[in-house]
């Protein structure tokens, strides 16, 4: 039973949050993971998410928003169902990272931080994702795809579009 009676989250997520706040010496330590897990479920950090997390952690909504605005993975607008994040940092750049980004732009018909009209895909140019030795690389939601070529990207995006893609949460 959740400590929040009218939680906006699914029962499993609400239970997870109930547990999360007990793990640390200070409840507030659960804030960053909670924001990210909430986003995983709702799609973005909505006003309602901010309100419930503030309530759960005995914080002001202002405190939550201050933290929210700091972390680049957290967003306050919906992204696509599959958020394609292409790394163009140094190791990726020099082995074709921008070709991959441009290919995604063309294929999806959207630019950096764009969302396709059907809400299926969004695209982001991101900083180093820690896959330098297997560059060029991208993430679709949390899943890594590396040693990319435009043809490989097509196959990956086809898989997601057809509901066959992996989606770790």
């Amino acid at each position: 039973m959740s400590t929040v009676t009218d939680s906006i989250f699914l029962p499993a997520t609400a239970a997870r949050f109930d547990n999360l706040v007990t793990l640390y010496p200070v409840k507030r330590s659960a804030l960053v993971p909670m924001l990210l897990y909430a986003q995983d479920e709702i799609g973005y950090v909505s006003d309602a998410v901010v309100a419930e997390i503030a309530q759960r952690l005995d914080l002001l909504e202002l405190d939550v928003r201050g933290v929210l605005s700091y972390y680049s993975m957290l967003r306050t607008e919906p992204a696509g169902k599959f958020n394609v994040q292409v790394c163009t940092n140094i190791s990726c750049m020099i082995v074709g990272g921008y070709d991959i980004l441009d290919h995604c732009k063309q294929r999806l018909g959207i630019g950096h931080k764009g969302v396709t009209p059907d809400g299926q895909f969004s695209l982001e140019e991101v900083e180093c994702i820690g896959a330098c030795c297997w560059a060029p690389a991208m993430q679709v939601n949390y899943d890594f795809h590396d040693n990319l070529t435009p043809a490989k990207v097509d196959a990956i995006l086809d898989d997601y579009a057809a509901g066959r893609g992996e989606d770790v949460k």
């Binding site: 700091y70 163009t88 940092n89 820690g130 030795c133 770790v168």
Partner: protein, 440 residues
């Protein structure tokens, strides 16, 4: 999925369980897992710290601070609880070594955390992974749960009365700055990841105000191996004052990119030409970023140097995170400098003005320059701006942005001049809208 590579010159200490299924706790136990921590419990904290000091292990995050000494700085008694904090926020461009440790040997990180805890008298440890590493977080979470189920973690571990240790895993949510130790503590406390002023150092006032040891994931994962083989034996593998091995991630324009475990002091040129198979397609090497994007670049003539903290320092650069990025002759150093500074400008947390404004002006100037709108004065201005950021910020992010920029201008000034003269021949990579403006 990251592919594993191998080379005969490797000395596999840290990586010896890679590809062996050691993320499974039973397999880890078969492969001498959790023997080191039991040895540590038997022999006590003084012994652990003396072995760690003897090992010559230095921080693998990039600063190279001796680990045994760091552990010894924690006060023996403390009113507040003590903590171990493992830094797995790996975000330095060119660096992906912790990625493979979390993937292949997560229990080594758990065991190392326990050893650090025993050494300093902490009963709780945190393993913090960057938010992008969700699949790795799940692997570590499973490993932690398995360790509790086996009685390796929790109360009275290994059946020893009064020996308790708890581990909590934590995810970040996208922030390079959080890799800095004091910003990491802020983030773990549920705040914006801005740095704290030092002193006090974390060993005295750290997480939740308690004495805290913060180590990079690779450093922590090295501890069990050191205790098993003995500090002195570990030290012998490396070079003077640089014990052991480390994971070098060789990326960019080489034939066989990958993570290789080489002895400290291994020759950089050999690492590129023999271990990683040389420059891809037989092209000419132009430059090497030797330890992550914050390290000053080396030219093709400067590569005959040993990969350890002291030799790299003498060569005017840093060993850093061990992320070696190799650039061939087709890369424009002006463009490379711009892409590097775009990153630091994006990641500056804005807490210190020299870093916030400095990275922004460097990006603006380099963008204009890159797009053909530069003038001769810009070249000196870029260097001057960067030099004035040095040492003027709470954390090293300002320096991390300034150091490579200064080196790009100093060592490749002719390329900046070629941009002005319109005689540059290198192709363009960047297509980021904000960087390729109307001047193009």
């Amino acid at each position: 999925m990251p592919t594993l590579v191998s080379h005969p010159d490797e000395v596999k200490v840290l990586s010896r369980r890679f590809g062996q299924g050691a993320a499974n706790i039973d397999r880890y136990l078969e492969l001498d897992g959790y023997k080191a921590v039991q040895k540590a419990i038997e022999n006590g904290p003084e012994w652990v710290i003396s072995e760690m000091k003897a090992s010559g292990l230095r921080g693998r995050g990039g600063a190279g601070f001796p680990t045994g000494m760091k552990w010894s700085f924690v006060p023996k008694t403390s009113e507040k609880p003590k903590y171990v904090l493992v830094n797995g926020d790996e975000s330095e461009p060119g660096t992906c070594k912790d990625h493979v440790i979390f993937l292949h040997d997560p229990h080594a990180i758990i065991e190392g955390t326990m050893i650090a805890g025993l050494a300093i008298g902490a009963k709780m440890g945190f393993i913090y992974l960057r938010g992008e590493y969700r699949y790795l977080l799940k692997i570590v979470e499973k490993a932690v749960a398995d360790a509790y189920a086996k009685g390796v973690l929790g109360k009275n571990i290994f059946g020893k009365e009064g020996v308790d240790f708890d581990i909590v895993t934590q995810t970040g949510a996208g922030a390079y700055e959080v890799g800095e130790e004091s910003a990491l503590m802020e983030s773990l406390e549920g705040k914006r990841g801005v740095p704290r002023i030092k002193p006090p150092f974390p060993a005295v006032v750290g997480l939740y105000g308690g004495p805290t040891v913060i180590n990079n994931a690779e450093t922590i994962a090295s501890a069990p191996h050191i205790l098993l083989m003995g500090g002195a034996e570990y030290a012998k593998i490396g070079s003077e004052r640089n014990g052991g091995t480390r994971l070098f991630g060789i990326s960019g324009m080489v034939e066989r990119p990958g993570i290789y475990e080489l002895p400290m002091g291994y020759n950089l040129k050999k690492a590129i030409y023999e271990v990683a198979g040389g420059v891809k397609g037989g092209k000419k090497l132009k430059a090497v970023v030797p330890g992550g994007s914050s390290c000053p670049v080396l030219t093709a003539d400067e590569l005959d140097v040993g990969l350890d903290f002291d030799q790299m320092g003498k060569a005017g650069t840093m060993l850093g995170s061990g992320g070696i990025v190799v650039l061939d002759e087709t890369v424009s150093m002006v463009e490379f400098a711009l892409r590097t500074i775009k990153f630091y400008q994006h990641e500056s947390c804005g807490w210190c003005i020299p870093c916030r404004e400095g990275t922004d002006w460097l990006k603006k100037t380099l963008t204009r320059f890159y797009n053909g709108g530069g003038n001769a004065k810009d070249i000196n201005n870029i260097q001057y701006l960067a030099e004035n950021m040095m040492g003027r910020t709470f954390c090293p992010l300002g320096d991390a942005a300034a150091m490579p920029t200064i080196a790009f201008v100093k060592k490749f000034r002719h390329e900046f001049e070629e941009y002005l003269g319109g005689t540059r021949t290198e192709k363009n990579f960047i297509t980021t809208d904000e960087l390729v403006g109307a001047a193009h």
